[in-house]
Structures are given as C-alpha cells and as structure tokens.
C-alpha cells in the first residue's frame, strides 16, 4: 500500500481550515500533518514536516502565502486558496498555477486535489515564475538571514548593489544580503521609483541627492546617505529620462 498523502493546511481563519479538513475526510489515503494560522508558522512547518501538498491561503498575518513560498524555496505541491485577490488570480492564470476560490465546492476541491496528486514531486515552473515576476509591484521585501526574518518596506531602501550571486540591499538602518539577481528584483519593483543606474546598482530615485561629474563623460550618483555610486552610460540615459 502507498504511503498516505501528507497534507499541511495554512489559513488564518479557523473555519476555512476546518472546511478543508472536512472536504479531505472523503479521501482515504490522506494524512493531515499540520495546520498553520500565519505565515511564520508555515515558514517553520514547511521545511520541518516537508508535506506532499500544501493548501495555502494568500493573505495572512506576518507573511503572505507568496512570501512563505519565496522564503522557503518550495516550488512543488502547492494549492492556493483565496477569496478574492485580482492580482494574484491574474498571476495564477498566467502561470497555470492551481488555486481554489473561496467558497469552493467539494467537487472543485477534489479536482484540485487529484491534479495535485498527479503532479506530486514535480517542480512546477509556473510557481517559480509567479514569484519572480509578480503582477503587482512589491511593497516590501522579506529576507531570512541566519534564521532571522527581516521585512523591509521598499520605501526604506536607499539602493541595491549586485555582489556575485547575491544582492545587497542598503537601508538607513543596515544592509541585507539576499540570493537573487538584481534584474529580477528590478522587475519586481515599481519602475517609477527605482532606476538601474549601472549593471551593479539599482537606486531608489527619492534617495538620490544629485549627480556629480567625474571626469570626461562620467557621472557619479550622490545618494542622500552619502554613498557615491557609478553611473553607466545607459544608466545615465535612463536616469535622465526620469528626472
């Protein structure tokens, strides 16, 4: 006999979790290994319990369902549940990621479960794309650094620097390292607020103090926090079109 399908239910509303529990009762080879009521709990439970399938609510305290996935690196066996989130739904459709729209019927639930079971263990490229290119622009960036969680509102970023496979996000308080490419982050941020001034530098326009000449045809960006960043020729054109 097969090992039962291990399931984690993540939703901040108790009744929503109980409904999923109830719908699962009609299925026999299932084991509910846990319930989480906020994003932090889910972030802890996912690597610890390594469930086969996660029913994941999007809007939750502390971390959203999407942030939980990004931080945990999980890219398989996820079924989103949400009542209404026009941006998320658009993104799900775009990347062919399955989701349950609350309130949902037993029939629709069974379909999603069957599909999830069939795809078991296969990485879903759609999930990865969904996180890399969200439809609505990021409002905050979440970083896990040696077990500690940092939440940075994008309005507090001064500039972001590429460092090999990492990016270094500079804020007034401190800098944070994150494994991501600068281009990917650039695509996630509001292009009216952030400008790529150089291959290795992305700045928040409001944190820019001014420009300074540095020799022939070369400019340096003076930031409000005192940093001086190089500007490439293409970066200068982009910056000029925004000032």
């Amino acid at each position: 006999m097969n090992k039962p399908l291990q399931i984690l239910i993540v939703d901040d509303e108790e009744l929503a979790r109980r409904l999923i529990r109830e719908y699962l009762q009609t299925h026999r080879d299932i084991e509910i290994i846990g319930e989480c009521e906020n994003g932090l709990e889910a972030l802890q439970a996912i690597p610890e319990q390594n469930p086969d399938l996660i029913f994941l609510d999007i809007q939750m305290p502390k971390l959203s369902g999407l942030e939980v996935l990004e931080l945990s690196g999980r890219d398989t066996g996820v079924i989103f549940t949400t009542a209404y989130d026009q941006y998320a739904l658009k993104a799900f459709d775009l990347h062919a990621v399955d989701y349950l729209l609350k309130p949902f019927s037993q029939q629709r639930f069974d379909e999603a479960l069957a599909k999830g079971r069939k795809m078991l263990g296969q990485a879903n490229p759609g999930l990865h794309d969904l996180l890399a290119r969200p439809i609505s622009k990021l409002e905050r960036i979440v970083i896990r650094d040696r077990g500690q969680l940092h939440v940075i509102p994008v309005d507090q970023i001064d500039y972001v620097e590429a460092q090999g496979d990492y990016i270094k996000i500079h804020t007034a308080a401190k800098s944070h390292l994150k494994t991501q490419s600068l281009s990917e982050l650039e695509a996630q941020l509001d292009s009216n607020k952030f400008v790529r001034i150089h291959r290795s530098y992305l700045i928040r326009l409001a944190a820019l103090k001014g420009l300074q000449r540095a020799g022939k045809d070369a400019q340096v960006a003076l930031m409000l926090n005192g940093a001086q960043l190089p500007i490439s020729r293409a970066g200068y054109e982009r910056l000029k079109s925004m000032l």
Binding site: L15, K102, P103
Partner: protein, 355 residues
C-alpha cells in the same frame, strides 16, 4: 495672463472701442472749432489707439489691490496715482506726436495745442484711465466668479466620487466571499451558527441599502450597522477580534452621514487586527462636548510593515466627504505609531427636530 492682451478677439474689440473714442475726440475738436477734419483725425486717432494700449496696464493696477484688501485711502492713492501718471504720460505723447505732425509742414497735419486744450486732454485721459480700471475690475470679478464656479463643481464631483466609493466598499468582495466561505464551513459543523451568520449578513446588507439612500442617520443606527458587521467578522476571526464600544448617551441620537464608521472599522480589521498573530481590541468612543460630536477609533497594528499597506484612499475619501458635507465645520485626523492607529473626528452636533 492678461485677459485682453492674451485674447485676440477681446483685443480687437478693445481697439475698435478706442478707435471710436478717437473718432469722437476728433469730432469734438472739429465741433469746438479747434481743428479742421483732416487735422483732427490725424491727431486724435493714433494717440487714442496708443492710449488704448497704455490703459490695458490698469489690469495690473487692479490685481495689485485684491478686492478684499481695499480701503478708501489706498484705492484713492493707487488708482488716482496710476491714472495721473498715465494721463500725463499720454499728454506728453500727444504733444510729441503733434510736433512730429507739424514738422511735416503739410496743411492737414498738426493742430494748435493751447494750455487749455492740454488741461482738457490730461483730465480726459485721467478719467478714461479710471474707467479702464473699472472695466478691468469687472473683468476680474467675472473671472473669479468662473473660477469659483469651477471649484464648486469640482468639490461636488469629489463628493459624489466619495459617495460612490462608500457604496462600493459595502460590497467588498473579500468580506463577502470570506463570509460565504465561513458559512459553507459552518453548515456541517454547526448548522445553527451557519444560519445565524447568514442572518447577520442579510441584516448588514439590508441596513446598508436602507442607509445609503439617506443623507443623515443617527449614531445609534450607524453603530447597529457596525454591530452586524462585527458579528460576522467575529465568527471569521474568533477571539482575535475584540471590540470595546463606549458611547456618550447624548451622542446616540445625534446625526451623522451614513456609512461613516463601518468602513473605518473594516479598515481597522484589514490593516490592523488581521495582521496580528494574537489579534487585538478595536476601541470606539463617542463624546458630546460644547456643541461638537467627537468620535474616536483606535486599533493596534503590527510593528512589522504590512504586505499590503493601505493607500489612504479611504481616509482621503472621508476628508472629501467632510469637506462637501460640512465645508470647514468638521475635522478628521489620524495618527499611526509603530503599534497603534488612532483616528479622531469632530462633527457639529445635530439632532432631528422631533427628538
């Protein structure tokens, strides 16, 4: 922008008027026997057209003294001074023009400018300049009137937008679909609770529809709407959502615009309580004091920045609504600290006639 110089049609009409003034002046010169027709026309028409341009400067004289700041002495000094300066300047131009005419040596050019005529010309010019000031004042008044009308129309539009927003927020899809999901869960677990929640939802929407047709309702009515809303949200969020309502008995029958508090409470949950792992308490307080109705709403917020910060539309709408309903007579302000959001409003105290 100068209302005449910046508008070609107005400029042409103005110049036509001054051309007529030139013809009238020439006629007077002829009728008083001071000059022959050719000489009178050659003299009067150019100088009056020039004066037409000089007189448009009165627009700036008018603008320098806004209507609200005028006193008799100031007006006499500024307007009189400006008129005298332009009048005498013009007299100089007249004399120079006449000299140039005479220098031609032709019989049809040049007139005799006696000291008496000089005085008449100067006085006439001063009076014309004063008339120009008057005309510009009227023009400016019309312009201001137009601007005021546009402002009023804009304010009305904003208010209508705000009302629409209020109505739309009542059918918040999040609230509705999540509530239906809760009912769906309750039907098998606790059928009686499912029924109770359905009834609360029905009551909430029924009251919303009834109130949205009215311009004012009592605070008590608004609170009962909020109670239905909160009853539903308490089923969804359980113990996480606590509410403490403290109302001044005097405030219960006072009148407020409908749907004033419910959207604020909805936001207190959406941007406050919901983000908190342990939940929290929303406090609602009303006080009547010195002819004012004060209402305060407070809720804890998570210290960690939200993944979906509000864009402040709700609060801006509230301000626009107050501005259109009460002009300057109502206030709303809010403060967000790291772990708390508090909003206060003050409205003029109103009761219906029969209460």
């Amino acid at each position: 922008m100068h209302p005449i110089l910046s508008n070609l049609r107005r400029l042409l009409w103005t110049m036509l008027a001054w051309l007529l003034a030139g013809l009238v002046s020439a006629t007077i010169l002829v009728l008083t026997g001071l000059a022959a027709w050719q000489n009178a026309l050659f003299f009067a028409i150019p100088v009056l057209l020039i004066y037409g341009f000089i007189a448009t400067s009165s627009y700036y004289v008018c603008r320098s003294l806004p209507l609200a700041k005028r006193s008799f002495f100031l007006v006499s000094a500024v307007f009189g001074g400006a008129s005298l300066i332009s009048g005498f300047t013009w007299l100089g131009i007249c004399i120079i023009w006449n000299k140039l005419g005479r220098a031609l040596g032709e019989p049809w050019a040049g007139i005799e400018i006696s000291p008496q005529l000089s005085i008449v010309l100067a006085i006439g010019a001063v009076i014309l300049y004063l008339l120009a000031i008057l005309a510009h004042d009227v023009l400016i008044a019309f312009e201001n009137l137009g601007a005021a009308e546009r402002r009023a129309a804009r304010a009305q539009l904003l208010a209508r937008d705000a009302e629409l927003q209020v109505l739309r927020s009542q059918i918040n899809p999040h609230f509705l679909f999540n509530s239906l999901n809760s009912i769906s869960a309750l039907t098998s677990i606790a059928p009686a609770s499912a029924r109770a929640m359905t009834l609360e939802l029905a009551n909430f929407f029924r009251l919303t529809l009834a109130f949205s047709e009215k311009t004012k309702i009592t605070l008590n009515e608004e609170i009962s709407l909020c109670q239905h809303f909160l009853a539903i949200e308490k089923i969804r969020f359980g113990k996480k959502l606590q509410v403490k309502i403290t109302l001044d008995p005097l405030s219960l029958t006072s009148l407020i615009p409908p749907m004033l508090l419910q959207p604020l409470i909805e936001n207190a949950i959406k941007h406050g309580i919901r983000d908190l792992v342990g939940g929290g308490t929303i406090r609602i307080l009303s006080i009547v004091r010195d002819g004012w109705l004060h209402i305060a709403i407070q809720n804890p917020v998570d210290t960690q920045p939200s993944s979906m910060p509000g864009n402040g539309t709700g609060l801006k709408n509230l301000q626009a609504r107050f501005a259109s309903l009460y002009a300057d007579q109502a206030r709303v302000s809010w403060v967000k600290s790291t772990d708390n959001f508090s909003l206060e409003m003050a409205l003029p105290l109103e009761y219906t006639a029969n209460t």
